[in-house]
Symmetry: C2
Subunit: 240 residues, 2 copies
């Protein structure tokens, strides 16, 4: 688990939004350094949408040094890489680095500064690395809650199995090919009856095109039955 530190946050709303973003993606250790409007804060509780109930107790510190005292590695989030000699990480690289250090039992934190000013230089000095977000240079208005959300999301992503695009399909397995073929044979006969194939020369190509449509779609058993029903309905007054 990575700790999230908000240093000198101004608006309670943003603390709440950050907490909600954290818990959405499974982070529960929030630390505040000298929040402007004190703590606890009613506006934070409102915007957190119940997140605080499921998180660890929020720890409040007088200064940044105390907040990171038990941390081995702290990322300072900044809008630009400032003129400091520190490695600069993207959110996903920071998560990779965090995981590596967590495996070595290190405490890792990600620190965010005040809404208006960001982290102070003397706070960044105490961090081991800088973390920047790949924002649109013409509209870099990522707020505190959004920045925390991106980090929490990246962290969750790294621990979460990626859904398999075929997941839903395998719960509803495609029909065996013979079912599709049987439907296509019926369809072809009906189309023949309706003089759909205007020339014998074009017919093989037209049939192939039709087969491709129905073969590509991973049709399930139920759907094959539906298609048969459609065909019967369209056949209308013809005897079966």
């Amino acid at each position: 688990m990575v700790s999230i530190i908000l240093s000198h946050p101004q608006m309670g709303e943003n603390i709440g939004t950050a907490a909600r973003a954290m818990l959405n993606f499974g982070l529960t250790d929030l630390r505040l350094v000298s929040p402007r409007d004190g703590w606890p804060n009613d506006r934070a509780i409102t915007t957190a949408a119940g997140a605080f109930d499921q998180m660890q107790n929020v720890q409040v510190f007088d200064n940044f040094s105390d907040a990171i005292a038990d941390c081995h590695y702290v990322f300072a989030t900044t809008a630009r890489a400032r003129d400091m000699v520190k490695p600069v990480y993207s959110p996903s690289d920071a998560v990779t680095e965090t995981k590596k250090r967590k495996a070595e039992k290190q405490n890792v934190a990600i620190a965010f500064g005040a809404e208006r000013t960001g982290l102070l230089n003397e706070e960044i000095c105490q961090c081991q690395a800088i973390l920047t977000f790949p924002v649109n240079p013409d509209f870099a208005s990522l707020n505190l809650g959004q920045a925390v959300l991106v980090m929490a999301y990246e962290y969750m992503k790294s621990t979460h199995e990626t859904p398999d695009p075929s997941l839903n399909i395998s719960e509803n397995p495609p029909a065996p090919q013979r079912e599709i073929d049987s439907f296509l044979t019926r369809l072809e006969a009906d189309l023949e009856n309706k003089r759909f194939f205007r020339s014998e020369g074009l017919k093989p190509t037209m049939i192939r095109n039709i087969k491709n449509i129905f073969t590509r779609a991973d049709i399930t058993d139920q759907e094959v039955r539906t298609l048969h029903g459609i065909l019967s309905a369209l056949r209308g007054n013809k005897t079966k």
Copy 2:
């Protein structure tokens, strides 16, 4: 560019937050299907923090079908994979698929449903794929703006060069080893003078430990000068 569709959004604030999230990460095509409180909406403009000024004109449609009419592939975002036979994508996999289709000149959109209900089943039916977020199962309260933010971030990330962690360091290259050695030699002499090395037997190990500290830190020329200054200062009243 991928289009973002908000179907039946309820609160103007959320439309604005979504727009801000989009533009932060470079997305500019927002489409609304029948927004509850009409359009334009003052609350949306407030929370967008100026984003609408830099985006394409927001398009408003009466129904979902019209909103996706020019799209070749649409992702339906849902909280859970519903009982529909469609491939299920994670945000990053959806971006990979989107890029592939954009390269083939396809229009791709990501659709989000109303805050309370999500996309309607008849809307999901019209989409080619399902997109789910890897949220904390015990607190899945991702709101509309947050969900849009995650997708926009993933999209930007895929087009953005990852910062090289060594970037800042290479602008301030580490000092050549002889500079470090010269400092360490001076330090060692001073420590010797101060009887820091309590036993000759331990001295080599202690020196090695000290060297490791200063060697590991990628110290720059400027920092070496600073260290010399520190040493001179600490040496204090001793003649140089």
